[in-house]
Symmetry: C2
Subunit: 305 residues, 2 copies
């Protein structure tokens, strides 16, 4: 029997990568034959974590054989997963997102409305009595810091914070110092092409029949990113044409001050204006206090569509 | 704030009723304001359990206000739930079925491919350190015996059996003696009308565009039930017309010898013939070894549709 492959979503973020590694470690401790995988490039934030731990990334895969056993972490939406998700055997899901996947068979499904998959995994380690090593604790705390923007995101729950603080002690890191360094490493887009920036953390979703792509780029300075506005708009327009999008919403999120500047283009750009009561001038507007795509963007656009 | 309502599926079986009570007890122990509810009549098997414990059934409800907080146990399929499921806030799901529900928001979703919801609930009690009293143990073991037909169903896992045996000790019951009495109580259909028999444990599902209703009646004697064949067929034909069904598949399951006699009617009755390599004579055929709708009927019909 071949190994069960564990992976997070496409365009993997730090939670998807670390959750894959942390879940693989748990399954191995329970005697299961698994392999940590990923569906895309390691971003700079995650690379900071792997460098800190001198650890190799999960195995890069771009497809899985039909019928293979897989475990999904940090996602369940088929649009964010491998292309043949309907033809594989999803054995387990460990997640913290809305339920989108449907299966024709019962499976192990474990999701909680928490800020990060790692907080769910932390509970699983406790339940199974599997040791959380210094290395695993560092992976876990990195995922939580990333997904909650160091506890500033409205997706962050008291439990995420409590777990992260305990994990930081176990990892032997100062959570604010380590976390800010990690987040800042992720905002370095100086050597990325516009296409790479626009693919960094892109989620394509269907909002009431509208094909919407929401891309989020974290930064320590919105002004620095907005210097590239013309080139970004060109890339966005290209993506709209190629993918037949109704709306491309780019969020440039200031992780220090917790605001987002958006560049929104497409025939449903009115959704952004309606949702945040703003006027897009030259395709752009400041969305005060908006940092979470999951809590402050997707449901708001959906309500206004 | 109003109470969170906890309920299992329509046409509740013993697992749905006991899980509602057991989950309510757990939530209350955790300080949450909840109420155990049910979406339909108590069947005789479940009544045996409630009588044994001198316990009232959960509150009967037929609707829930839009926006209400609910917890689903033993189901997640909207077709088996309250009619306005899309307009309520599903806070948690505790289940052991395929994932069918989709939500626009993250929630606590806990499902495992086990024989019974109670086995998942048993794990939750352990995780939260909540005491399993003699009464709760009796409810739990009753659910497991019911769903697994006293461990004979192919849906039964080693964990269901192990948990049930521990619970039986805690409940102070001889599991075989108590279990058989309970199952037999459930097979007493002597005072039921044909319409009541046909509604006992009916699941309506969509199989590749076909509207299929699968009804299961447990019995200690197939012959006894087949004496009513003419009246059952009349009721089935009425249901087909009223609900616009493509197939009505009645399973008369012999819980002692683990076989099912089917009466299958409808323009897609060929699905049954193809799926089990049988010929329906006068609408009926014996399906040897078939006892589980979930494992031996729904997926088999789906594969052959």
């Amino acid at each position: 029997m071949s190994k069960t492959l564990i992976f997070g979503h496409k365009n993997p973020d730090t939670d998807s990568i670390t959750s894959s590694l942390v879940m693989a470690n748990l399954e191995k401790a329970l005697g299961n034959d698994v392999e940590a995988c990923r569906l895309g490039k390691i971003n700079k934030e995650t690379q900071y974590v792997l460098d800190y731990l001198k650890m190799d990334p999960p195995t890069l895969i771009d497809s899985v054989e039909d019928g293979a056993d897989v475990i999904l972490v940090d996602h369940n939406n088929p649009m964010e997963s491998i292309d043949n998700i309907d033809n594989v055997n999803v054995k387990k899901v460990i997640d913290h997102h809305a339920v989108v996947l449907t299966t024709g068979y019962p499976l192990y499904y474990r999701a909680e409305p928490l800020g990060c998959t790692e907080t769910v995994l932390y509970k699983l380690y406790k339940e199974y009595g599997v040791e959380i090593t210094k290395e695993i604790a560092t992976l876990m705390v990195s995922g939580i810091v990333s997904d909650t923007l160091l506890f500033k995101s409205p997706t962050c729950t008291p439990m995420d914070k409590e777990v992260a603080e305990e994990l930081a002690r176990k990892a032997g890191v100062d959570i604010v110092e380590y976390g800010l360094e990690m987040l800042k490493a992720g905002t370095d887009i100086s050597d990325l092409s516009v296409d790479e920036i626009l693919a960094l953390d892109a989620k394509e979703i269907d909002i009431k029949g509208n094909k919407v792509l929401i891309n989020q780029v974290n930064t320590a300075s919105i002004d620095d990113v907005m210097k590239m506005k013309d080139a970004l708009e060109e890339g966005i327009n290209k993506a709209i044409e190629e993918k037949g999008l109704d709306l491309f919403m780019l969020l440039i999120t200031d992780i220090v001050n917790s605001n987002s500047q958006t560049i929104s283009i497409g025939k449903r750009a009115d959704l952004v204006e309606k949702s945040y009561n703003v006027v897009l001038e030259d395709n752009t507007a400041l969305l005060k206090g908006v940092v979470s795509r999951k809590k402050q963007v997707i449901p708001v656009l959906t309500d206004n569509a």
